[in-house]
């Protein structure tokens, strides 16, 4: 298995004042936001930003953690509207000023050229995985994307993913693709020459991690937790660690080996509230 990016490989963190270049809506709940960032942010796939508009005043008070959908001079984010902050992002107009703190956290490990990449996405969790798939250049085998949502409306960017992945979609209501969950298709997709990258609801990622452990396939997850700072000082984003205690999603993650997480305790402590797909 390839090694993770060391912190030396990652661009220094900075707070960049920028503005929204464009917002593309996907249905009612999803938006792709593209920003003008010049050379300011240099995220690697898997890294995230804390985003906030100075026009928000004192509420919402805190920036929101969002994985990058793309990097370069025009970085973009995929937003699912599910609360006050994401609602503000979902109605932002071009020209609105934004502060982006980043790039933050760990990147996905460099994909192993001798393995086929299996990407497992739940809803808005597609963002860091599509960034990864697009960064692969011309792999020997196109990555496989298993993409699940509650309904066909919860599969944003699935058309875009077809350009770089072999895509199989699942919906819980059967409105698109296989009726059921992504994990229904995972075991048969895995082989000794595959590696898995996953981002989605905790329960989905826990099931993916379990399947990968049983199959002896490496699995990296992208964590999500409420956080205030994004750079390791608020200590809000504690995730139960396999070795006991907690790791912090913002600095030990978001991208981390699935074996480093105590999924039982994660489920027990986060409970039902973690089961819905939250904006990534």
């Amino acid at each position: 298995m390839s090694v993770n990016h060391s912190h030396e490989d990652l661009a220094p963190r900075q707070l960049v004042r920028t503005h929204l270049l464009r917002r593309e809506s996907i249905g009612n709940s999803y938006h792709v936001l593209t920003f003008e960032a010049g050379s300011g942010l240099q995220p690697k796939p898997g890294q995230f930003t804390m985003i906030r508009s100075p026009e928000w005043g004192q509420a919402p008070l805190l920036p929101r953690p969002m994985s990058f959908l793309s990097g370069g001079p025009l970085p973009s984010l995929l937003v699912k509207v599910c609360g006050d902050g994401s609602a503000r992002l979902g109605r932002a107009e071009p020209g609105e000023p934004f502060d982006l703190l980043g790039p933050l956290g760990t990147a996905w490990h460099t994909p192993d050229p001798d393995r086929r990449q299996v990407l497992v996405a739940g809803g808005v969790g597609i963002a860091p995985l599509l960034f990864l798939a697009r960064s692969l250049g011309k792999p020997k085998k196109r990555p496989i994307l298993l993409y699940g949502g509650r309904t066909q409306r919860d599969l944003p960017l699935s058309e875009d993913a077809i350009d770089v992945c072999d895509v199989q979609v699942t919906t819980e209501d059967g409105s698109a693709g296989h009726r059921g969950r992504v994990t229904d298709l995972l075991a048969e997709t895995l082989g000794s020459d595959t590696e898995v990258f996953t981002c989605g609801p905790d329960r989905m990622m826990a099931a993916v991690a379990r399947t990968c452990v049983n199959a002896g396939v490496p699995c990296e997850v992208s964590l999500e937790a409420p956080m205030a700072c994004g750079y390791g000082v608020c200590l809000g984003c504690a995730i139960p660690a396999a070795k006991g205690g907690y790791i912090y999603a913002c600095v030990s993650g978001p991208c981390i080996n699935a074996r480093d997480i105590d999924w039982e305790r994660t489920h027990a402590t986060f409970g039902e509230s973690s089961l819905k797909v939250i904006a990534k």
């Binding site: 004192q58 008070l61 805190l62 409420p226 700072c229 200590l235 504690a238 402590t269």
Partner: protein, 304 residues
């Protein structure tokens, strides 16, 4: 040339702007953002004798113009701090205020003695006001007699200046602060967070695993300014103001109310350079009015 220098007892700070405990890690997390040695000082994450994992998640949630936290004093422990963090801070000339937390007077004393043995610690700040742990913390800060006992014991155990961080939930706030002053405290930091709660209507449970959490951020500020105003009138020792400071104007409110220095907390979360921006803003404010920062302390109190 005007001066930003303030005196907190025997300790001279080059700026009245410090960063608050729990909102600034151990300082080294800010390397990418600015030179923290330029600050008046940094208050470390609350240190205990043994490392602490902290509370289970969820630990934080946002509230109108504020946030709740129930971190549970997760920290590396005083030994790891002295071994892994302090040497770098010392080398860089950072003014370090060690915030300490314990569940017994003996442990407060042991912590103070341990830090007294190190060079590079400018003062200790006693956290007798954490609302998020079952034992210690706020228990010491609610009662004047207990607060005085802790203060006196630490005072006797170290030559470092001793600051006491107050809870706004101490019933007789002025009584507790005066008791600490009489017991030898060099300054009072006010205020720590106020306990609050948010219920998740989806799960029909409190959002925080700890049920309650400490409210911080701008929502807290008018309460904090009022308390600083009252304490500054009642005490001879300096008051260090804290509670929802996000910009220069906020910091000035506390100083005009009587604070000799201020601490920037939650604001660092959304902009890591907040404290630096406020520090520069205060210097500009004083330059424009050709006054020293000390001329402004308590000025809101002058007769009409």
């Amino acid at each position: 040339m005007t001066s930003q220098s303030v005196k907190i007892g025997s300790l001279e700070l080059k700026s009245p702007v410090l960063t608050a405990s729990g909102c600034f890690g151990y300082g080294l997390e800010f390397d990418d953002f600015f030179d923290i040695a330029t600050l008046g000082g940094i208050c470390t994450k609350g240190l205990s004798l043994q490392p602490r994992d902290g509370n289970p998640p969820h630990r934080i949630c946002e509230t109108p113009a504020g946030m709740l936290n129930a971190i549970g004093l997760a920290n590396v422990g005083v030994e790891a701090f002295c071994r892994d963090k302090l040497p770098t801070l010392r080398q860089r000339g950072v003014t370090v205020i060690a915030n300490i937390f314990a569940t017994s007077i003996e442990d407060f004393v042991a912590l103070a003695q341990r830090l007294d043995a190190e060079t590079g610690v400018a003062a200790v700040e006693l956290n007798v006001s954490c609302p998020n742990v079952t034992h210690g913390g706020i228990e010491f800060g609610r009662d004047a007699k207990m607060a005085a006992q802790v203060t006196a014991a630490v005072r006797a155990a170290t030559k470092l200046p001793v600051w006491v961080k107050m809870s706004p939930e101490a019933g007789d706030l002025i009584g507790v602060a005066r008791a600490c002053e009489d017991a030898g405290a060099d300054a009072i930091t006010a205020i720590n967070t106020i306990r609050g709660m948010v219920i998740d209507i989806g799960t029909m449970r409190p959002k925080l695993a700890n049920a309650t959490g400490g409210l911080s951020g701008p929502a807290l500020r008018p309460i904090a300014v009022r308390i600083v105003w009252e304490l500054a009138a009642a005490l001879k020792i300096p008051v260090i103001g804290i509670g929802g400071i996000t910009d220069t104007r906020d910091a000035l409110e506390f100083i005009l109310a009587g604070a000799s220095a201020v601490q920037v907390g939650t604001a660092s979360f959304r902009d890591p350079s907040s404290a630096q921006t406020i520090m520069k803003g205060l210097a500009t404010f004083c330059e424009e009015r050709n006054c020293n920062i000390t001329d402004l302390i308590g000025k809101a109190r002058r007769p009409l």
